[in-house]
């Protein structure tokens, strides 16, 4: 017995929206980053579900790549958040707003 593909899509869409909600509301840079990770993982759910649905492996392999790149992104992101903290003594993403208009 298999679960219909549409449920997976709904699950991933829900996850994506949760992540997006976090991106839009969280002011802490780390939470922002985590929200983005949630969005990426929503995509991963889709990929794996569709790989199963279509019966080919490219989706699953691509999910591996996505995870690796997400990790790399987090690495770079943490570095940037670190210097953000050093310069602004805060990890609030709305604080650095000197450059505008």
């Amino acid at each position: 017995m298999t679960v219909g593909i549409e449920y997976y899509v709904l699950l991933s869409a829900a996850l994506f929206c949760i992540g997006l909600f976090g991106v839009l509301t969280r002011r802490n840079a780390l939470m922002f980053l985590m929200s983005v990770e949630i969005m990426l993982n929503a995509a991963n759910i889709n990929l794996i579900a569709f790989a199963f649905y279509h019966g080919n492996l490219s989706g699953q392999v691509f999910a591996l790549f996505t995870m690796a790149l997400a990790a790399a992104e987090v690495a770079v992101g943490l570095g940037i958040i670190l210097v953000l903290y050093r310069n602004f003594r805060d990890v609030d993403v709305t604080v650095p707003s000197a450059m505008r208009w």
Binding site: L20, V23, L24, R27, V93, P96, A98, M99, R100, W101
Partner: protein, 672 residues
């Protein structure tokens, strides 16, 4: 073998070189560049004479030299056309230019003027432009050099730019002629657009195209071919009227006296003013296609001749008198051309070039004598103190007045003769003729009034009692021109020839291409055939007509001279202008010509311009400024989107993305 014509471009290029040399090295050269100009114009003269001889030997030259814009429909090029007319004109122009250069040594250098390199450079450029204009083989090239001539006259009239009057006179000359040139330019474009060619001569000339269009009965823009040709011809005529100072665009010429007298000589005799009439002669074949255009030319010419002559009567400034005489004489030429007297018009152009250059240079000499005094009422009695100046000036005056046997008589007589024989066939031309005839009287009067006031009687000022001596470089040009003024008439002694049955009408044969083998299209006889003007003689006899016409003209001229003699050849002449009564003020004020033009400018043009300006200021600028302020305001709004807070960016990105999804989704029907 290199033919003479290979050197044709050099005729024009030599003065151009002189221009460059005088401009660049003038300050370091002896006589500030005068010698460069003299050498160049002398070279041009020699080459021109060679051309003349070659043309006389039976060759014509019509070659495009350089294509500078090649289109599908039409090709613009520079080229050279040397036929009897242009060869003759080349000689006249280069000769007068040479003499003016020589005279300038005495007039400008000896008087210690400043800015001489500029003067000689501009003279060189002026000569170059005119020679290139004469050489032009197509209308566009002619137009370009026509404009260059105008520019040079502007520069030279305004030579003494530190005075108040010279720059304004220069501007006036420039603007008034430019007004005419505006029509000329439209004419050039229209001719090019209509016929697809702008060349004067050859099988593919616009003259031939127009001819065949008329023959084929084509229509252009709803006009018949002949009407269209008339319109085109009149458009070009606009430029001619401006340049040749014909009514109503003549007002700039008297003011042009503000330039050095040598420049006046050049402008009046050989370059600027002559350019207009030369252009009519150059495209006479085109005008010959349209009797209407010819009639208008004749009337403009006749009227201008009379009109200007009457104004010349009351002038006090020697150069002013000469200026009005120039206008009047060019009126004669236009009259001559307008009545189909191509030879007569060109003949008068040639004679006038000589005697008017002579008169102006003579006037220049007088001005030197008088320590730069130009008012004739302060002169007098110069006859004995400056005999060379006097006798040469007198020769010029006799030629101008048209007294036999001086050159002016023969050409003016021929013009009037051509006018009367046409007028007898078509009485309307008698009006033009009578205006021309009447002008003869006034010409005789003002010419001798000028001579008597200047040279006869007692000196009326300190300067006149103790004149400044003049040198050889002044006298030589005067003598050369004096001889020419006396003798130039022999090239076409038409009345004598016709009465006596002798073949001595050399100029007519010359212009008819009889010395030139295989020349077609540009000849007098072909023009006459094209124009197809019928003529009638008085009592059916050519001889009687000739004699009556000649006698009338000579008689009126002598009458004018005699009146002048009676009134002014007295030791203490007085201005008899009061006797004119109310007419005096009208004449003095040049028939209020300037006032009318000023009124046109201020009363009509200024309000129009002001309205346009208001429109420009309010509507156009308003729109433009509005656009720019809206842009800048929009710019302010655009950049406010960039709040600097990254969360807002994320929100805006999501919103924008949702807008795209909804938009494309609705459009593409995903939700159905």
């Amino acid at each position: 073998m290199v033919g003479a014509f290979e050197f044709a471009p050099a005729i024009a290029l030599l003065p151009l070189a002189a221009f460059v040399v005088a401009l660049v090295f003038g300050n370091g050269m002896p006589k500030k560049g005068a010698y460069a100009g003299i050498l160049a114009t002398a070279g041009s003269l020699l080459l021109s004479l060679w051309m003349l001889a070659t043309v006389a030997g039976g060759e014509v030259y019509n070659e495009p030299l350089y294509d500078w814009a090649i289109g599908d429909e039409i090709t613009f090029h520079f080229g050279i056309l040397i036929d009897p007319l242009s060869a003759l004109m080349l000689v006249i122009v280069s000769l007068v230019a040479l003499l003016v250069h020589i005279f300038s040594l005495g007039y400008m250098n000896a008087e210690g003027e400043t800015g001489l390199p500029r003067y000689y450079a501009e003279l060189g450029l002026f000569t170059f432009s005119m020679l290139a204009f004469v050489l032009a083989d197509n209308l566009l090239m002619a137009f370009m050099f026509f404009e260059l001539v105008g520019l040079c006259s502007y520069l030279l009239i305004g030579f003494w730019f530190r005075t108040r009057s010279a720059p304004s006179a220069a501007k006036k000359a420039f603007l008034v002629t430019r007004f005419g040139d505006y029509f000329f330019l439209i004419g050039v474009v229209a001719i090019g657009a209509t016929f697809g060619t702008l060349t004067f001569a050859g099988d593919a000339s616009f003259v031939n195209e127009a001819q065949s269009a008329i023959d084929a009965g084509e229509t252009f823009h709803g006009f018949g071919a002949e009407t269209w040709v008339t319109i085109l011809g009149l458009l070009v005529l606009g430029g001619v009227i401006g340049k040749s100072a014909q009514f109503p665009l003549h007002t700039w010429l008297p003011d042009a006296m503000e330039g050095p007298t040598t420049v006046s000589a050049l402008i009046h005799a050989a370059t600027m003013v002559a350019a207009g009439v030369y252009l009519v002669a150059r495209m006479f074949g085109f005008y010959a296609l349209s009797p209407t255009a010819l009639a208008i030319i004749a009337f403009v010419g006749g009227f201008t001749a009379l009109f200007a002559a009457t104004m010349g009567v009351v002038k006090d400034d020697i150069k002013q008198v000469l200026a009005y005489s120039t206008i009047s004489q060019y009126g004669y030429m236009m009259l001559g051309l307008g009545v189909g007297g191509y030879v007569a018009g060109v003949f008068h152009l040639m004679n006038h070039a000589f005697f008017k250059a002579l008169l102006f240079l003579g006037a220049g000499a007088v001005i030197i004598l008088m320590h730069h005094e130009q008012d004739m009422w302060k002169m007098g009695g110069l006859k004995d103190k400056a005999p060379v100046t006097y006798y040469t000036f007198l020769a010029g005056a006799l030629a101008l007045a048209g007294i036999v046997p001086f050159s002016g008589f023969w050409s003016k007589d021929e013009i009037l003769y051509d006018a009367i024989i046409l007028g007898l066939e078509e009485p309307i031309f008698l009006v033009a003729y009578s205006m021309g005839l009447l002008a003869v009287f006034f010409t005789g009067f003002y010419t001798f009034r000028m001579v008597f006031l200047t040279f006869h009687g007692k000196p009326r000022s300190e300067a006149a009692r103790d004149p400044h001596p003049v040198g050889m470089n002044v006298k030589i040009p005067l003598i050369v021109l004096g001889v020419l003024a006396l003798l130039a008439g022999v090239v076409n002694l038409a009345p004598v020839g016709k009465i006596a049955g002798m073949d001595i009408m050399f100029l007519e044969y010359w212009l008819d291409g009889q010395y030139t083998e295989g020349m077609t299209g540009l000849t007098y006889s072909e023009y006459s055939d094209t124009a197809g003007l019928d003529t009638t003689y008085i009592a059916g006899s050519q001889t009687i007509t000739l004699l009556i016409a000649g006698a009338l003209a000579l008689g009126l001229a002598l009458a004018g001279a005699i009146v002048a003699h009676v009134l002014y050849n007295v030791p203490e002449p007085v201005p008899h202008t009061e006797n004119l009564g109310a007419a005096r003020e009208v004449l003095r004020s040049n028939y209020y010509q300037d006032e009318v033009q000023v009124w046109i400018a201020q009363g009509l043009a200024m309000p129009t311009a002001r309205m346009a300006d208001r429109f420009d200021q309010s509507v156009i600028d308003g729109v433009v400024n509005g656009v720019s302020s809206v842009s800048l305001f929009g710019s302010g709004g655009m950049k406010r989107l960039q709040t600097g807070v990254v969360t807002n960016y994320a929100a805006l990105i999501v919103l924008g993305f949702i807008a795209l999804v909804v938009g494309l989704g609705v459009y593409g029907g995903w939700f159905v």
